[in-house]
């Protein structure tokens, strides 16, 4: 089978699965962000199977799907931070998936497969968290009353849902990840 077509359909199906899982929100936070049932897992699978360039493309496609299925305009004070927040929250945050594959393949040389999958997954979540953390600072620096540390607010707000999501994904990746991934890479 032609490799390019297989890549297209496989990543498209993983995108569909990620979009579907993002609907299963356990709860929504008031200012954007929600705990979903591991909606990043299918994208992690793509990152583990394909090279970083292709994973980046899939990650970009996912951020576009997120945008066209309900764009949440960030309440910023000027155009520059508006663009920065959109890029951070939508594009760069998921761009972390390009790195997930690199982490995974590096870790795999020394660690068992399940541990590498969980660790690189959690690292990807951590990078995504850093993106949301900075965008939070950009938005909220205006609102936080003087003397109140904005970074603490952003840390708690974004950390709370990202940690829960990372935990759900880690449990799934640890228990069912390797067998599913081997099946996926064998395709």
């Amino acid at each position: 089978m032609q490799k390019q077509v297989a890549f297209l359909t496989q990543s498209a199906m993983m995108l569909a699965l990620a979009t579907l899982l993002s609907f299963f929100a356990v709860f929504h936070l008031p200012n954007g962000g929600s705990v979903t049932l591991g909606s990043m897992i299918p994208l992690l699978f793509v990152a583990y199977k394909f090279d970083w360039k292709r994973s980046l493309l899939v990650a970009f496609a996912y951020s576009l799907i997120q945008m066209i299925s309900g764009f949440y305009a960030p309440p910023t004070q000027n155009l520059l931070s508006f663009i920065a927040v959109v890029l951070l929250d939508y594009v760069i945050a998921f761009g972390a998936l390009g790195l997930a594959g690199l982490f995974y393949r590096t870790l795999l040389k020394k660690l068992p497969q399940s541990v590498s999958m969980v660790t690189s997954g959690v690292m990807t979540y951590a990078i995504r968290f850093i993106c949301h953390f900075f965008s939070g600072i950009l938005i909220w620096s205006f609102y936080a009353p003087a003397g109140q540390p904005v970074w603490l607010y952003s840390l708690v707000y974004n950390g709370s849902y990202m940690a829960l999501e990372a935990l759900i994904s880690a449990i799934f990746l640890g228990l069912a990840g390797p067998r599913l991934l081997n099946r996926f890479t064998a395709m």
Binding site: Q2, T9, L37, A61, I65, P75, L180
Partner: protein
């Protein structure tokens, strides 16, 4: 488990209106210009004009006003917060009200209302795009708008193809997930008790078959595409081409004019909010 019923991708609100019929490429372009114009706007006159423009577009789209308002609900308190903060932090104009250390200046009120309005317009106009355009049309529009980046190595066609397939298969996978949930419930699976970890674990019997079925579908689809000689983006035609007409050019021209007006108002300082005090 009814969490999967009535799930739709996106917020598309099907109606027959001039805005719905517009070309997605033009709509995306217009939103970009509108957002920039919104941040360029300098005073009450500019904001009123942009608000009028937004109202006219909403009226043309025939989307019930209720739906737009519903979209604003989540940021209601941010809007309120913006209003209050700007009102108290601006110290220009004359004092309207004073109580011990707190004072409200006329400039603060003007600025607070302006900033609140900006957020309202920003959210309602961006949600109008997804309300009046189907995700598939938006994807087609994005493919065209992103194609200049092909030179930089961005495979715009593959990107759009992937998104189209994904959007097409979300409802199929939803049905699949529904079946799997029912099948596992029939076998006695319990998704609603136990602590956080137990619940996360209980997802495995749903997610694993769902993944496997998605893998299988990917395989079938690849085979079907191969059999029909799919060879990527070069010279490929579309079943539904995006068509632009008078309506689209008119809309875009009005939008550009509004933006130029905002720019002029800002540069000349004629409409700066301080001038209104």
């Amino acid at each position: 488990m009814n969490m999967l019923q009535g799930v739709t991708i996106g917020q598309y609100y099907p109606l027959d209106s001039q805005i719905h019929k517009m070309d997605a490429r033009f709509k995306i372009g217009m939103i970009f210009i509108y957002v920039i114009a919104l941040f360029t706007a300098s005073g009450p006159f500019a904001y009123s004009l942009l608000a009028l423009f937004a109202l006219a577009v909403i009226a043309l789209s025939k989307i019930p006003f209720k739906i737009i308002l519903k979209g604003l609900k989540p940021i209601l308190w941010i809007i309120g917060f913006t209003l209050i903060l700007h009102t108290f932090s601006t110290k220009e104009g004359f004092i309207v009200w004073q109580w011990s250390r707190f004072s409200i200046y006329s400039g603060g009120i003007v600025r607070g209302i302006m900033m609140g309005f900006r957020l309202i317009l920003l959210l309602s106009i961006t949600s109008l795009l997804t309300l009046t355009t189907t995700p598939i049309d938006l994807t087609d529009g994005l493919e065209v708008l992103l194609s200049p980046f092909k030179k930089l190595g961005l495979p715009a066609h593959e990107l759009a193809m992937m998104m189209t397939i994904a959007l097409r298969f979300v409802p199929t996978l939803i049905e699949e997930a529904d079946k799997i949930i029912k099948a596992q419930t029939a076998r006695g699976a319990d998704f609603e008790s136990g602590g956080f970890i137990a619940r996360a674990k209980s997802l495995i019997p749903i997610l694993v078959p769902l993944f496997i079925s998605a893998f299988r579908r990917a395989d079938d689809l690849a085979m079907a595409m191969e059999a029909r000689c799919y060879r990527g983006g070069e010279n490929r035609t579309k079943m539904k081409e995006l068509k632009s007409g008078k309506r689209d050019y008119l809309g875009l021209s009005v939008m550009v004019l509004v933006f130029l007006l905002m720019l002029t108002l800002r540069i000349t300082g004629f409409d700066s909010w301080q001038a209104w005090l």
